[in-house]
Symmetry: C2
């Protein structure tokens, strides 16, 4: 992975000491070199409980941090891997989305297993979907428990799981939802899909080492984070422009990580502060968002992510079209070359425009190692910017009020019944 | 459709006269009451050319405005309609996306027809994809032309189409790409899918009449547009928070419409100005973007879109979970009620926060009429804001430079060969 910045900034190297200090209490930092025995152990237990041989479909029930990271990795690799099992995601209370799942998956069959993922078990969407599935299964005679619960140690959800004889995998200590993709929240569904989880972790670890051992990534990340934090008022919007369709769920993961971590009240202050993430896919969004970037208000930084080597490609056929002879210029050009030329052309055109801070990330392959790198890179960047903005990067106090109001509304309905 | 604003603004009613004037030269305004005979005529021609009976798959090749609107309507209605034919979209040069299509569609078969959509025919992604498909078909013996071209009158693409004996449908006059969903760009693929296009147009027309005949929508739109334009510096980000998965492609359509129309250099001025669109889906994005809205910088307006009546729903089963007895509160609540209660709770919690301008759009049904309303409502809103910002809402000069650089890069490659 390479990351070229088109800006430079001085930074305070004490920042790295503060992040070093944070690694003692914030769990995600240590996930790249986690002990992975629990994964093999889990597969053995699942094999005993339900059997692995007939298993073809895994339904992941989790919302926000409990599914976005897994989706990002799964959809990045799916087009280029012969995966062992299909993942399905339930991350909504939309009745139509729930109904659609019934078309795709055989609920009461040894071919399907359900992963219920929630740190505490209080996530209303996840429990509602769990009850929905229980309702569908209850009628049929299943002689095994088709559920695994991925949850915090000693959570009510763990207690429930033990009560019903389901499998449990604990989330590693002190890992927040949006930083949890490399914990059991992500490793368990990904290993079931047949993704080489060890390589994902190795990719993450390569960034971790480069950052903490004074490597190439350290300088890049410190400069970039400092620039973003210093310019929070001038450039409050940070766009990621990914030039491959297979990163579109990575973009969604980034939006949660960035938005929920960095939109906060400042410590010891009355100020609301925040950086707004935008996820874009190239070349499609050249025909959607690019005009705004180029001619609109200068309030955005842009990070281009390019894939150097596409595993699948073919040339544009050498066909001349009558009245469209000008387009012969793309004949024989590989589609993989074309998409990267498009990215390069937009980067070059943006460099000619004043006051649009750019950087460019190049990932080598569409493989486990590269996506592990990219994920850990963004987690570190988020932590660094959060520190510099003087906020708590890891909480989300703003969303509580809506949850309480929902509870009151539900109580009102119950009381009327 | 109802639209409740949580703010009020004085507006200049001369604005409506300026928009009246614009209807003479800007084509999209008149699409709701277009003459639709060309649609029936086209179906007859296609039936003669390739046959409609065996036709099951329509591949739409178009990028940006040539596909986003069709996608929005198609995906809104697909979950609740038994559609006649499946639409597939090619809107990328990503080799992986192109490769995947071959799995889903039989290219050289009477079951598949291709719609090539481009105003001029110079869109590089669209022509590359067309050549790609020609390359795949050329080997096989197809005794009919499986292509329809939807393009401007007398464009090079129309000339090409006539040369190869393909069907042509012209785009109505003076309709720009991102305002073209109600033109032949959208009506042709949608009618082939089996969507009741007349009802989409009637929905749009109901908004048109209400706006131009001094109805309910006129006051709402003038207030809202004036508020957005006046506050372009305070609230440069406009989020749409749709509480149904089936509006997720509508969100993408909105992002293009808003971003590309309103990100411009001001007329007779050196200022870059713009409003940044963000598309959110509830309840999922409560677990992603909501924290930033509530505690982050006060730079966003939020529009909630709620669907009053879900066609499909079921209650949360009446199941008590050991150790999770608190969640009994959702038992027997319809999922459709739950998702709307979630939206209401977030709206209520946001109303308690200072300086977050909100509004709420309620659409009645998941049907053609409602999506037609929503689309025309947003097109009008965009035109109004563009007028007030003193920009040209309908061009996109910023994207030209990147296209030219791409041409130069391609020429370099050719010269080396």
């Amino acid at each position: 992975m390479e990351n070229t910045l088109c800006f430079s900034t001085n930074y305070d190297s004490a920042l790295i000491d503060r992040i070093q200090e944070e690694t003692k209490s914030v769990g995600y930092y240590n996930l790249p070199n986690q002990d992975t025995h629990y994964i093999d152990d889990y597969l053995e237990r699942l094999d005993k409980q339900q059997g692995l041989e007939l298993l073809t479909d895994i339904v992941v029930i989790g919302i926000g941090g409990s599914s976005l990271g897994t989706k990002a990795i799964y959809h990045f690799l799916k087009p280029v891997r012969q995966l062992q099992r299909k993942l399905h995601f339930i991350d909504s209370t939309d009745p139509i989305a729930l109904n659609n799942l019934q078309r795709d998956v055989n609920f009461a069959s040894k071919s399907t297993h359900f992963l219920i993922i929630s740190k505490s078990g209080s996530t209303i969407e996840t429990i509602a979907a769990y009850k929905y599935i229980l309702g569908l299964i209850n009628g049929s005679s299943v002689d095994y428990c088709p559920f695994t619960f991925i949850t915090d140690k000693n959570s009510p959800l763990e207690k429930h799981a033990k009560e019903v004889g389901a499998l449990v995998v604990n989330i590693q200590d002190n890992v927040g939802g949006r930083f949890s993709v490399l914990s059991s929240v992500g490793t368990i569904p990904l290993i079931l899909a047949g993704i080489w989880v060890d390589r994902v972790l190795q990719g993450a670890n390569s960034i971790k080492n480069s950052f903490f051992d004074n490597g190439y990534i350290q300088d890049v990340l410190l400069q970039k984070a400092t620039f973003y934090a210093k310019n929070v008022a001038n450039y409050p919007i940070n766009s990621v422009f990914s030039y491959t369709e297979s990163l579109r769920y990575f973009n969604q993961w980034y939006v949660q990580l960035w938005g929920e971590s960095l939109g906060k009240k400042q410590r010891n202050s009355v100020f609301n502060i925040g950086l707004t993430p935008v996820g874009l896919t190239g070349p499609k969004d050249q025909h959607s968002f690019l005009q705004l970037i180029i001619d609109g208000t200068r309030d955005k930084t842009i990070t281009f992510i390019k894939l150097e080597n596409f595993e699948v490609s073919s040339p544009v056929p050498n066909i001349t079209l009558k009245h469209l002879e000008d387009t012969d210029i793309i004949n024989n050009v590989e589609f993989s070359t074309l998409i990267n030329l498009q990215a390069d052309s937009i980067i070059e055109s943006l460099k000619k425009v004043q006051r649009i801070p750019l950087d460019e990330i190049n990932i080598k392959q569409q493989d486990e190692f590269s996506i592990g790198q990219l994920i850990y890179y963004y987690e570190l960047l988020t932590s660094l910017v959060g520190d510099l903005l003087n906020i708590n990067t890891y909480d989300q106090p703003g969303v509580e009020s809506g949850k309480q109001i929902l509870m009151e509304k539900l109580k009102e309905i119950k009381d009327k019944q």
